[in-house]
Amino acid sequence: MRRRTRDLLHNRFAAFVAKKVVFYLIVAFVAMTFVFFITHLMPGNPVDRMIASLTSGGPGGGQTYLKLKAQLMDYFGLNKPLFEQYLIFWRELFTLNLGPSYPINYPQSVLSIIILRLPYTLAIVIPVLLLSFFLGNWIGAKAAYAGGKRSELVYFFSVFSNRLPSFWFGMVLVFVFAGVLKIFPGYGLASLGTMSSWKLSYFLDVLEHYSLPFITLFIIYVGGWATGMRSMVTHEMDSGYVRYSEQLGFRKNKLMSYAERNAILPQVTGLNLQLNALIGETAILEIIFGWPGIGKMMFDAVGADDYMLIFGGFMVIMVVVILGNFLIDILYGFIDPRIRTGGRQ
């Protein structure tokens, strides 16, 4: 058995993985190049801006100004030819030098800020993605199997909840649960003035602040999975083998698991798209709920013209997206028996 797996792995699956690796590397390359060109397409010269903010925007153009500007341009390598700057850009990337954050947290390095904020965003994205997938698909499957009016009801509820704009729905939930019912807090990471500590009360406080953004996205995404899975399972059931096997006397639970197993495959493909959408929506919700993740960081950076942070943040988001998509693709290749065993149609 083990030898056979190794043989097969050397054939189809490895080729599959290799293709994915190449694809995502290209995406990464395109993304980074895109960032580079955007920074250079920006109107105005960053050095001008820098000098302006340091000298409180006094009249420029004098001899001292020009000398200073020349020195700074030289220091930052901005007067080198574009291609050379491009190569320097890549060298910096590979040494993980994303520059200092300016002007927000100067001279803290962008990388350190991002590493600090990344867990907050991931703490929402990963649990929502995983947990909503399971609950949503379970609801969808159950509804499909029940059929009839119950199935229709679940359909309309799940479509509606899935189409709720996340940013708006977040506002609504804050209004209902924070404003009116006062169960959950509506903003921030923890109650005002509390210091980060190992105390349980602090953890619970954070959890309370975490709840609303989490629930907002959770409901929306559960709806999405439920809608899809319901259609998939209904389709499976219509394939006949389910009703037929039922007649033959198979137990319902056993049948359901077979139908589900077939139906879940296309759902896993959707996991990729949902991950990308989820990252974007989490970013928006962070801004609204004041949850200190990457999204809020980008937003503040955009507000303060902190270009190093903006682009560093974008690049890290790309890396997260690429990694996530890659992992999900591999997972799909693992689950799909056709890819795993290398069957050719």
Partner: protein
């Protein structure tokens, strides 16, 4: 085929809601007050007989804002949808039809673009532009949304490519591009229209999202802008409870998007008869 479409319950219900909301957007602004007119005597009032949806913090009529908002949001959506569909047809149809090289390239480009997370990109690009018109926002959204449409159009063209009338056209010596435009596309017209509607819906949603973050169209009342102002022009909005201000735009959006989804589902049942029995 239009008769069968009209028989699909999902399609009809969806279409009805879409048209209803569009009507509100088109006709509404003529029947309501000036949405930006402030009334300092009636600030932040809940709905009553005069102001059917209440007033904002500046005394503006929420119902009027809603109607104008629907219209402007629709405008952005239609722009985004139209341009996006155009680009999608270019990449999806031409590439899929020509096959081989052209197909590989266009589907590769599509797949690469799909991975990009839209919101951070939109944030960055909006940062570069100071004054944003409705048109600009529509354009930007189209630039980020077309890959989705291109994918579906491509699969549809691929299936149509093998049909008889296409072979006939090829035999009679028609050039590829001509064949696509004159033979293939008209047969997918309903499908393309559906893609357009889907993109338009998505465009409205995207506009609302970036508006709420403050990088939407400047100086226009859209559904997203209503949410933005509701959030930012009240000191503690949720505690003031101006629910009549920020709830309606979202509800309209949700209904519109759900209707578009249901229309699409109805149409899918048509194009893939296997899914038809529910």
């Amino acid at each position: 085929m239009s008769e069968t479409l009209l028989r699909s319950k999902k399609f009809i219900v969806g279409l009805a809601i879409v048209i209803a909301i569009a009507m509100i957007g088109i006709i509404g602004p003529y029947l309501t007050r000036d949405p930006l007119k402030e009334n300092w005597n009636a600030v932040a009032q809940p709905p009553d007989s005069d102001y059917l949806l209440g007033t904002t913090v500046l005394g503006e009529d929420v119902l009027a804002q809603l109607c104008t908002g629907i219209r402007n949001s629709l405008e952005v959506g239609v722009l985004a949808g139209g341009l996006g569909t155009l680009i999608a047809v270019l990449f999806g149809a031409l590439g899929a039809y020509k096959g081989g090289w052209a197909d590989e390239i266009s589907s590769f480009v599509t797949n690469v673009m799909i991975v990009f997370p839209m919101i951070p990109l939109l944030l960055i690009v909006s940062e570069l532009t100071q004054q944003r018109s409705l048109m600009l926002v529509g354009l930007l959204i189209a630039l980020f949304y077309w890959p989705w449409a291109a994918r579906s159009i491509r699969s549809q063209v691929l299936s149509l490519r093998e049909r008889e009338f296409v072979d006939l056209a090829r035999l009679s010596g028609m050039r590829d591009a001509t064949t696509v435009v004159t033979e293939v596309l008209p047969n997918m017209l309903a499908y393309i229209i559906m893609v357009f509607i889907l993109l338009a819906g998505g465009g409205m949603l995207a506009e609302a999202g970036i508006s709420m973050l403050g990088v939407g169209p400047s100086n226009s009342v859209t559904l997203g802008q209503m949410l933005f102002h509701a959030m930012n022009e009240t000191i503690t909005p949720y505690w003031w409870g101006v629910w009549w201000w920020f709830i309606p735009p979202g509800i309209v959006l949700t209904f519109f998007l759900s209707a578009v989804f249901v229309m699409h589902a109805g149409m899918n049942e048509l194009f893939n008869p296997r899914l038809r029995r529910e």
